[in-house]
């Protein structure tokens, strides 16, 4: 029964993906994956953590169908590895889940093959049926018969004619091999495995720092003095920088694109360097014993102040980026800056929590990777091409029509609807029409496996117009 189910899933895999682009097939594959995982690992799905990951995986599968973007496909793959990893071991950090999920998917067969005790396996096989002997009995004569037929073909024209009439062209070997690949994949994930060294190390690492028995008071005092001096001076410096930055924002009147661009990009480079160094310095001082030193209050306060000032720095960069967007429109790079700002803010908050609650580095990695995973899934749910187009046409003071036309086809329908009310040249209108026509042809030429939500939309439009 178990092999039959995987066999059916393998055939489904080939039907879905052989010579097809990604679309509805990935969503169906996701549902098949969950069915296989639930069937073979019912106990794992009684765990709330695993159920949450299964729901997230289904959500990404729906997003792939709705959005049909590269980001949604990446999010679906990451959610797949997370779910498989969670089924193999649900108490590990999310990055260990990714490792276990990836390892299970690509090498589960070999790992299980290694774990099998050959002697026990041989005995149990002989009890049922001698599979190896049966394979030899069919395989070896078959190989030799094929080789000899091929050799005899050249020796006798009548035999050659007879053999030439035998045709196996109705069998698509590549399709069959695709089935084998599907069988390999589903068989691998049916019994998830773990990378033992990484999983046990992760399970043994708690989030809290442990208070040491032996602490050198003198050494800690010196380290605290160094930290206080350094953070005090850095706080002064960042205050000075923020004051000048606010002043330049208020006074600055030149809002030309190059000036704003340079402001935002310079700000970002400063931000990258300062936040990374800030977090490294904080982690260095609060890596161990200083967390438990009774006179660390000043150092902690200076650290919290520095984190707060870095958050102000982030807010200033966000304001500059938003000004840039309002004046010259939304682009992928500018969205990227906002996402980077969000992730940096998260990094600072988790660093703050680490110092406040005396947590270790594992806590930081765990929380930050979890949040990055959630951000990836949320971002993949948005049709960015459509969002950029809508924003630039409705809210931006100015926009680059070339940029909008060169985006992916996912804004083609919207651009085509709006082209007549836009103040753009005739050649641009023609380019938009051409983009729309190409997209419609692409949508209609898709096989059912490649369908996305937009296929149903144009079907509705067609039936309404008829």
């Amino acid at each position: 029964m178990k092999h039959i189910l995987i066999g059916i899933a393998a055939i489904l895999f080939s039907v879905l993906f052989y010579e097809q682009h990604i679309g509805l097939n990935l969503s169906i594959f996701s549902l098949a994956t969950i069915a296989i995982l639930v069937f073979y690992n019912p106990k794992a799905f009684k765990n709330r953590y695993t159920i949450v990951h299964a729901i997230l995986y289904i959500a990404t599968a729906i997003v792939v169908f709705m959005q049909h973007s590269y980001l949604s496909i990446i999010a679906n793959c990451v959610a797949f590895f997370t779910l498989v990893g969670a089924v193999s071991e649900d108490k590990t950090s999310i990055y260990v889940c990714w490792l276990n999920g990836l390892y299970t998917s690509i090498a589960g067969f070999f790992h299980r093959n290694f774990e099998v005790d050959d002697d026990v396996e041989k005995v149990s096989l002989k009890k049922d049926i001698d599979v190896i002997h049966l394979t030899k009995l069919i395989g070896i004569p078959l190989v030799f018969i094929v080789v000899f037929i091929l050799l005899y073909k050249n020796g006798n024209p009548m035999f050659n004619n007879l053999v030439s009439k035998i045709s196996f062209e109705f069998i698509n070997m590549q399709w069959v091999l695709f089935c084998v690949l599907g069988y390999y994949l589903f068989s691998n994930i049916s019994k998830p495995i773990i990378v033992e060294s990484a999983t046990s190390a992760d399970l043994n690492t708690k989030n809290e720092l442990v208070k040491p028995d032996d602490v050198s008071e003198e050494k800690l005092k010196k380290e605290k003095q160094l930290g206080t001096t350094l953070l005090g001076l850095l706080n002064l410096l960042i205050v000075l920088y923020i004051i000048t930055d606010i002043a330049s924002l208020i006074i600055g009147e030149d809002t030309s694109a190059p000036t704003l661009s340079s402001l935002v990009h310079n700000g970002i480079y400063t931000l990258i360097a300062s936040i990374v160094i800030a977090i490294v310095i904080i982690l260095y001082f609060f890596r161990g014993n200083l967390n438990f030193y009774s006179e660390n209050r000043t150092l902690k306060n200076l650290t919290f102040l520095w984190i707060f000032l870095n958050i102000i720095l982030i807010a200033l960069i966000a304001i500059k980026n938003q000004n840039y967007i309002t004046s010259f429109g939304l682009t992928y790079k500018r969205i990227g800056v906002h996402i980077y700002i969000l992730l940096t803010l998260v990094g600072l908050i988790t660093t703050f929590l680490k110092v406040l609650n005396i947590k270790n580095m594992a806590f930081l990695f765990r929380r930050n990777t979890q949040i990055a995973f959630i951000v990836l899934i949320l971002m993949s749910a948005i049709n960015w091409d459509q969002t950029i187009t809508v924003y630039n046409l409705k809210h931006a003071n100015g926009f680059d029509v070339n940029y909008l036309i060169n985006l992916s086809n996912r804004n083609a329908i919207l651009l085509n609807d709006k082209k007549d009310v836009l103040n753009i040249s005739e050649s641009d209108k023609n380019r938009i029409s051409a983009k729309y026509r190409t997209y419609m042809i692409t949508l209609r030429q898709r096989d059912w496996q490649e369908w996305s939500y937009e296929n149903f939309l144009i079907e509705d439009d067609n039936s309404n117009s008829e």
């Binding site: 390892y103 070999f110 073909k153």
Partner: protein, 124 residues
């Protein structure tokens, strides 16, 4: 460690997998000679890859007191993930050329099986 038998089995396995996949594109009686001749480059590549990566890991770790089982469990997962990453990169870069797919698939399966053959040898 039985390096020679491992290399011989790996070479045979790699050749079979390579031609099963590559043969789906085109196969003819005249190619039998090519298939037999392909043993030579496949043997060289398998020898270099297996001796240069898998055998070295086993040799170094077993010498330092690790059991073969420990070596497999510690290093194989990372080896498999790296090999898979290289294979996927190579296949995508080639634009899904059938011979490149055959090459990387046979290399991945053969090296994975070679790990098992080394790990399952009886330790002295």
């Amino acid at each position: 460690m039985h390096v020679v038998s491992n290399l011989a089995k790996s070479c045979l396995l790699a050749t079979v997998i390579f031609w099963i996949i590559a043969g789906t594109d085109y196969m003819d009686i005249d190619m039998i000679l090519v298939i037999f001749l392909s043993f030579i480059p496949i043997f060289f590549i398998a020898t270099i890859v297996i001796l240069g990566s898998i055998y070295v890991i086993f040799w170094l770790r077993v010498k330092n007191g690790f059991s073969k089982r420990q070596v497999y469990k510690t290093f194989y997962p990372y080896y498999a993930i790296t090999a898979f990453g290289i294979a996927v990169f190579g296949i995508i870069s080639s634009g899904f050329d059938i011979y490149i797919i055959a090459f990387f698939t046979s290399a991945f399966i053969t090296t994975s099986q070679s790990w098992i053959w080394f790990a399952k040898e009886k330790q002295r």
